[in-house]
Symmetry: C2
Subunit: 436 residues, 2 copies
């Protein structure tokens, strides 16, 4: 009997990240300065990011080494298993083989820790004592707080007020890891005080929380800012997912026809997909379908246009060439907080423009139905974000049944849903409403 | 470098549970009928349990086979890894080697699924269509709901009203697995209706929920009752934990000086400890210390007396020979819901009386402090129950530092704390209060 779980020994934790920029047939358009509209240089970014990460952001080297200390801490949860979803296959009565990479096994419950640890390490090498960041639903804030504690750095998280009040569990998790967390807008920054002066009851926004975290980093010599998705170096760190998965699929004796990840800012999708795309970029592989899955309610890749746009609502970040719904776009309050982003990762956008990948959008209702189907077969309750990848996998597994073809499908289970049970309840009680 | 994670392939999932009764030098005193006070026979138990489990309850065979279908489903999360807690060792500056068996990796987040799956399977073989049970904080209810879905049975959970209202997430989890769950007291049973007639706002109790679940099983031909701890067959099923851990410690090239588990009803402690006790029972091993850890506020093993007592508050269950604080004892509302039980498993009690194991009790404050220390070193946030095992491990690791001795400590991380963040907040904000 073949194993359900395909596990690698810790000695097989990759030694290098894969830098997809090195294999791009056309170069990635550079980020532009928000005022001058000229390409941003290292000096522009130095106040908020350490030089090591700025270099990774623009590197064209094919690989970036993973330091021993980071690999050592990765051993707490890496290599993560690839599972064969045999019970789901049986329930779907499909000839397709469905595999999933299980990033939900990380101590914080998602893939976010992969980049958080690497970012913390680079900052520490450059003498940084403290990292600031923003968080919406709290997934990224928890990951950075955990990484900072494991690397012996301080952590400061600005959490959007409405989530801070409504979703206390991730806030407490940040505290449990010894991190500091405040509701944004806060009294700690000028941006926060300005917002509170205008409206003392402001619910906050991700854009405002970014402004606070960046201001915090700029004002303090001991502090840099950390971002959990979108940027090149963040996606680079996540490629450890796909590098492991390629070895694991080889162990399973199969090669995927489909590689699927959900897409918000792009990091978990990129993490699984980029290593598999090398062959397509080099023209040696044409069969593989690589699919980014987004919510119908925030259809950045399927309905957005590709143009230079700001990463934040306020328009303070560098301009990024990306698929975007416009930086003023406010996504409806769907429960998949991690997919509520107006833009996309420039690297993912570049690949979509080059037709190396595809994008699909599904309704929240359909994705929750598939999430529950998955949980009832495989046991694990997925994060609502990951449910989008699951739904796409099921759609293509059912297509394979119709066609009578054995397809091999690999998707990324980017996180578990233990902190999202309220969203499940809304779905189960029929109160979720259609978002499309 | 030695691996942090010691993993077994799925082929090494044990084929048999270990039945410690076969190695007892003196037999376990039988359970007595609550009215006649004569030993209960199979006929007394048949209305609520399937014959296969009744046989396991009294079996003196050294092993009980694990059916292929159960082993197949165990592959979703078993064998669970044993971790070496290197960062914790470094933080404690101890020469001790600290290992933990990670039962928190199960899809429901605890060891409870091990017995839930086996119980569901036995019931299914005997034509049972539906299982009823009670749950307090919800851990066991979730495990049984998941097991029933994976085995294609219906599940009916009576959840203590106060938890049903205050801890909605585990209730939703039961629904996500397709289980039915109602607040107890409910209108569905005579016991529930009687309680509601007396007090329409009754907060319920575990004892009352048991009464409802048992009545449900007795009244319906298609339904049996399932229990998540205390009884012999439940502890038997959990021995898969220790059987795997013994192989894993052998792979690590070490043998434990200490084997530690938290103790409420006894199942996770027994699961890890029993296989390691075989040598002590046979007189071939004398060095090993096996420790059950309980809260100071509910000191069943350290302060209770060993006598025949009821398993429930109402006095309807068979009388069990066990360490007990008296079946009328109401533990204070500590956050470690899984350890709030007036009694203990008869098998564990028998071993304690025979001095084959030891018991320790610690305050909740100390256990939370150790839980946070663990989380900040190892990443994983433990369940408050498991925190008791962690605290004992830390106590003995610090003793080893004082003595300058290299000791090998193995404890059971029985569950994660994702659904217990409110308790962490109380601790972190200083609002927990001392329980001893």
């Amino acid at each position: 009997m073949t194993d359900n779980k395909i596990t690698l020994p810790e000695s097989e934790i990759p030694t290098h990240f894969y830098n997809i920029q090195a294999d791009f047939p056309t170069p990635l358009p550079p980020a532009l300065h928000p005022v001058t509209r000229k390409p941003v240089g290292p000096a522009d970014l130095a106040p908020i990011f350490p030089m090591g990460l700025i270099q990774q952001e623009v590197s064209l080297e094919p690989t970036v080494e993973i330091p021993d200390q980071v690999r050592d801490i990765y051993r707490l949860y890496r290599p993560s298993p690839v599972y064969r979803a045999r019970a789901l296959e049986a329930a779907l009565d499909t000839p397709a083989h469905i595999y999933y990479k299980s990033e939900h096994v990380s101590p914080v419950g998602s893939h976010k820790l992969n980049t958080a640890l690497m970012q913390a390490w680079v900052n520490k090498q450059e003498g940084v004592k403290r990292l600031s960041t923003e968080t919406g639903a709290g997934q990224w804030g928890c990951a950075l707080a955990c990484a900072c504690k494991l690397m012996d750095l301080e952590c400061m998280v600005y959490m959007v007020r409405v989530s801070y009040d409504q979703k206390p569990y991730r806030r407490i998790m940040v505290n449990t890891y010894g991190g500091n967390i405040v509701a944004s807008p806060s009294e700690l920054t000028e941006a926060g005080r300005r917002a509170l002066a205008e409206n003392p009851d402001s619910p906050g926004s991700l854009g405002l929380a970014i402004s606070e975290a960046v201001e915090d980093a700029i004002k303090r010599d001991d502090t840099k800012y950390a971002l959990g998705s979108v940027l090149n170096h963040v996606l680079l760190h996540q490629t450890i997912i796909g590098l492991e998965a390629m070895k694991q699929m080889e162990m399973a004796g199969e090669y995927p026809d489909y590689v699927i990840g959900c897409h918000g800012g792009g990091s978990n999708f990129a993490g699984l997909a980029f290593p598999f795309l090398k062959g397509r970029l080099k023209g040696t592989e044409s069969k593989l379908r690589v699919i980014a899955v987004e919510p119908l309610s925030c259809p950045t890749l399927t309905k957005g246009t590709r143009e230079y746009d700001f990463g934040d609502v306020a328009g303070n970040t560098p301009l990024l060439m990306m698929h975007t719904l416009g930086h003023k776009f406010i996504p409806p309050p769907v429960h998949t907080g991690g997919l509520r982003y107006h833009g996309s990762a420039p690297l993912v956008s570049h690949l979509l423009a080059g037709k190396f990948i595809e994008a699909e959008a599904y309704s929240q209702e359909d994705c929750f139905a598939s999430a529950i189907r998955f949980a009832q077969c495989e046991g694990t309750i997925p994060a609502p974000e990951s449910a989008h990848a699951i739904h796409s996998a099921i759609v293509h597994a059912l297509e394979a049944r119709e066609a009578g073809e054995k397809k091999v499908i690999l998707f990324n289970l980017s996180g578990h849903g233990h902190f999202d049970m309220a969203a499940y309840e809304k779905y189960l009680s029929g109160k979720m409403g259609l978002d499309a």
